[in-house]
Amino acid sequence: MTSSVDLLLVLVVLTNFLAVGTSRLRVCIRASAMQGMMLAMLPLLAHREAGWRAFVLAGGTALLKGWLIPRLLMDAIREVRIGREVTPFLGFVPSLVICAIGTALALVFSDRMPLAPEHVSSLYVSTALSGLLSGFIILVARRKAIMQVVGYVLVENGIFVFGLLLIEAMPFMVEVGVLLDLFAGIFIMGIVLNHIRNEFESLDTAHLADLKED
């Protein structure tokens, strides 16, 4: 059981890498969708004893992270006709290297954390930290606002993995609250995207640093 959870968590890390290393928005969004689906499987594998709550959480996660948010993002890039990130603030190879170093450090660091005994050897904490880090890298290093939304989703996925550690101790309302937060966040970002587009006719966030005269 633990080994299948660990395999799934490694796949989650791989999708993080895919999202950080690609220049195509479509691939990046697909990576986040795949990651959402994998995260939805996690509570089923890890917390059978949680019963119907695990199923509700899995269903909600799959619906929201695996289907709805990626669909909204796909619609958005179809509308604005952006294919790829051309000139990122930080190149793709350096981002990947930083992401890998960060993941390695997360693996080392998670050993030193005072965790509950049943979580000590598992990969939850390091996957969560690695997800947070890759999300931040995308948020900071990419110009296109849609790419940054995906970065935000990855950060939230990292928090979700971390939250799975607590599913027994904490009411799952916390999880639902996080999902709701994410959904609200995506909505606000959608509105912001719309404003950026109306103002500058492009989704390049570098324009936001320009001073406008007219």
Partner: protein
């Protein structure tokens, strides 16, 4: 004894079939009939009946190139266990010999290309060595992961039963190594997305451009050697797939099936992807190394 005979027979005869499977898969994706499954064998027979033309600028290095390339590939193939059956040659530390036999073959292919004095072939040689320099860490990190899980330094022992380990993270690390080595397979054998094996006389190709001046029997050796190299890398990946059997006959059958499966996956990748621009190639090779390195960190933390 029977295992030895099987090993040698597979190494000599199976490689061109892998090419056939790849081409058939690509043809199926494109809706074509495609070349016959055994086309690569007929190509070899045709080439071995021809005489070679040698340029006057070339020296013995040019003639040694294909011979060294195929013999090092065969040597490496003798070190790799095939599906749990120990390799004919196995000793502690043979992983190093394995990696550098492949390196020696690459060195001679590249030097033979330079020996022709053609700028075009020099360019291909430069590309080949720079990409494989980036791919080598991925191979070594993957080998280190296996050394760590099995505690042995011989390829045959390392790959005897990679999935039978007590550690729970070993499985996760092995998955990373499989992905990483598959990328190395594609890069080292000049497959899409690194290089397109179907293009000739294009400015972007890597392996094909180095062997443009070889003809006849020498070119036959080059093609056969390249197929054996593909076989060796596919065997590395196939050894890590969890299809095994304790029964001797079933074990060999499982191995051949996993080899054909790897070839099929290569064909699928080639059908659904386009070749990368040259500047994007190092990115993918570096990420292969990073994956394998991450697998190692997972184990040693």
């Amino acid at each position: 004894m029977l295992d030895l005979a099987f090993h040698v027979a597979l190494v000599l005869l199976l490689p061109p079939l892998l090419l056939g499977v790849i081409n058939k898969t690509k043809a199926a994706f494109a809706g074509r009939v495609g070349p016959p499954l055994l086309q690569a064998y007929w190509d070899l027979v045709r080439l071995f009946r021809k005489d070679a033309v040698l340029s006057r600028t070339t020296t013995w290095i040019f003639r040694a190139g294909p011979v060294v390339a195929i013999s090092t590939a065969l040597g490496a193939a003798l070190l790799v266990p095939l599906g749990g059956h120990a390799a004919p040659v196995a000793f502690s530390g043979d992983v190093i010999l394995f990696a550098y036999l492949l390196g020696l073959g690459r060195f001679f292919t590249a030097t033979a290309a330079l020996d022709t004095g053609s700028a075009f072939e020099g360019m291909g040689a430069a590309r080949e060595v720079s990409f494989s320099a980036l791919a080598e860490p991925a191979l070594f990190f993957g080998l280190l992961v296996l050394v760590r899980t099995s505690g042995a330094l011989s390829l045959s022992l390392m790959m005897a039963a990679p999935w039978n380990t007590a550690s729970t993270v070993a499985g996760a690390a092995l998955v990373l190594v499989v992905v990483s080595w598959f990328l190395v397979l594609l890069a080292e054998n000049s497959r899409i997305p690194f290089d397109d094996p179907n293009t000739h006389l294009e400015l972007t190709m890597i392996h094909e451009v180095m062997v443009l001046d070889h003809s006849g029997k020498a070119f036959g050796l080059v093609l056969w050697g390249a197929a054996i190299k593909l076989f060796v890398f596919a065997a590395l990946v196939a050894n890590l797939l969890p299809f095994r059997s304790d029964d001797v006959a079933l074990g060999w059958a499982a191995f051949v099936c996993s080899m054909l499966l790897v070839a099929g996956v290569v064909g699928v990748v080639e059908s659904v992807m386009a070749r990368f621009r040259l500047v994007r190639v190092p990115q993918l090779v570096v990420s292969a190394s990073l994956l394998a390195a991450l697998g190692l960190v997972l184990l040693v933390r």
